[in-house]
């Protein structure tokens, strides 16, 4: 069959518009690959294809005419897309789909297929018109982007999982260390308490008792620190309240009334132990000296915050001592002095006939 015979094949689509129709000439000459199929014939064969279609697919017109369009499909053509085309044809509806097609030489191209029914004046489908466009570059670029995106996403996912695992491990370790520190502090306390019970000398027993109270104060600091959500900061106000309740409550001295009012005062965790011990010394001092010999009274404790400054105040209504000096000697006094200095706190003593008032001034800015 030569080109002249081919020409006659196209006549079939010209029967309503005539051979000299400029539209038909345009379709033949356009760079856009196009085919027309005839659904009235068995297997809906191609009855017209233009030059651009032959160029795109690598097939000659004789190899195309009379065949169903599916000869362009191959092993990697998406079955689902093919099914959608089949359904559109059966329903007489237009369809727009990207399809992997095969050239005569076996190479592939991405075909942006647009297929629509052509109806006659009675509304019956007479032909299907299909235009193709080689969009391989676009699809490949999209695929490359999608692959890159997936690679980055996988990397982000892995990194996130690594970080989550690291955080979990750190939290677990923190809990484990906290647990062990607590157990050790509990055991140190138990050892000291058990030893204290064996000592008959009241002076030595009192010293051991004081030591035990210090370990207890440290244990309370640790407990409060790890009970909170934030292990970097320590609420010295709440600790004050806690310590007063423990120290006075357990003394069994129902004749000592406490009047406690505290603000939330956050100090860095590094200062917590030193200040906790200072508070413990001042408090146990008050109980031991102000309320000695069964004398009752009111212990007034406050923790107030004023901007960058805070004042912890412990005031008893005992007999007091002379002037503004702490009771001389003893480890307690030394501890207060040295530990307050370490924590950058200023301790002021004020004692008179109506009792003793100890103020611990904190510079939160400096802390």
């Amino acid at each position: 069959m030569d080109e002249r015979d081919d020409w006659h094949l196209t006549d079939r689509v010209e029967h309503e518009t005539g051979a000299g129709d400029p539209f038909a000439a345009a379709v033949r000459a356009t760079r856009m690959p196009m085919v027309i199929t005839d659904p009235s014939k068995p297997d809906n064969p191609i009855v017209f294809c233009n030059e651009a279609f032959q160029k795109l697919t690598g097939y000659a017109r004789v190899e195309i005419i009379g065949r169903n369009c599916r000869f362009l499909q191959g092993p990697n053509t998406d079955r689902d897309s093919v099914r959608r085309i089949r359904e559109a044809i059966a329903a007489g509806k237009p369809i727009d789909v990207d399809l992997l097609n095969y050239r005569k030489d076996g190479t592939t191209f991405w075909n942006a297929l647009y297929l629509s029914p052509v109806r006659n004046s009675a509304g019956d489908i007479q032909f299907f018109f299909a235009s193709q466009l080689d969009v391989t570059d676009r699809i490949e670029a999209q695929k490359a982007i999608a692959e890159q995106k997936a690679i980055v996403e996988r990397k982000v996912e892995k990194r996130t999982a690594d970080l989550t695992a690291a955080l979990e491990a750190k939290t677990l370790l923190l809990h484990e260390v906290d647990h062990r520190v607590k157990n050790n502090l509990t055991m140190i306390g138990s050892l000291l308490r058990l030893q204290a019970r064996t000592i008959d000398d009241p002076t030595v027993a009192a010293k051991l008792e004081a030591m035990l109270e210090r370990v207890d104060a440290l244990a309370t600091v640790h407990r409060r620190l790890y009970q909170s959500d934030n292990v970097q900061h320590f609420d010295i106000g709440a600790f004050c309240q806690n310590l007063v309740a423990d120290v006075v409550g357990s003394s069994g001295r129902s004749d000592i009334v406490t009047d406690v009012s505290v603000d939330r005062i956050e100090i860095p965790a590094a200062m917590a132990s030193a200040l906790g011990l200072v508070l413990n010394e001042v408090l146990t001092n008050a109980i031991k000296h102000a309320y000695a010999d069964g004398r009752g009274g009111t212990l007034t404790v406050s923790a107030q915050r004023d901007g960058d400054r805070a004042t912890l105040s412990i005031a008893d209504d005992g007999p007091g001592f002379d002037g503004d000096k702490p009771p001389a000697g003893g480890l307690g006094t030394t501890l207060i002095k040295r530990l307050a200095k370490q924590a950058g706190a200023d301790v002021r003593w004020n004692s008179g006939a109506d009792g003793t008032r100890v103020e611990i001034l904190l510079d939160l800015e400096r802390a």
Binding site: N183, S190, T220
Partner: protein, 149 residues
């Protein structure tokens, strides 16, 4: 309901010998009696049938990999009038409903804290509601605290 009267009979469930000894001496200092000690769930299960106690102090992590939560369940089955207080370094492990127990003393405890807790528990058990201020060293379970209001 018959309320127990002081001195209370106490069971200590703790696998750390030092702590068990220490607890025992403080409980006795507070005027109560330790009637038995156990280090694991198995020890509690093996307690003689005539063993009676009003109050149990129960650690959570016990010997032989057993749990104080299981001990709490067992006590509720066999000694259903006993009060149960967990003593643990990890209070976060206790479920919200305290698994039927009555409260918790967080470790590390101090002598002061434990004595205050002991007094508060005694009041809550023998003559509720407690009149002492709530010590920081003891947290009553929501269900136990609700019986006081």
């Amino acid at each position: 309901m018959m309320r127990p009267t002081a001195p209370l009979s106490v069971l200590i469930v703790e696998d750390e010998a030092l702590l068990a000894m220490d607890l025992e001496s403080m409980i006795e200092d507070a005027g109560h009696r330790v009637v038995a000690e156990a280090a694991s769930l198995h020890d509690v299960a093996d307690l003689p049938g005539d063993c009676r106690f009003d109050l149990a102090f129960v650690d959570i992590q016990l010997a032989c990999g057993t749990s104080g939560l299981d001990v709490s369940r067992l006590i509720q089955e066999r000694w259903n009038t006993a009060f149960i207080v967990f003593v643990t370094a990890n209070p976060a492990k206790i479920p919200e409903d305290f698994a039927g127990a009555h409260g918790v003393i967080p470790k590390p405890f101090s002598r002061n804290g434990l004595m205050a807790a002991m007094r508060y528990i005694e009041e809550g058990v023998c003559d509720p509601p407690p009149v002492s201020p709530q010590p920081a060293s003891f947290h009553a379970s929501p269900a136990f605290a609700a019986t006081w209001s």
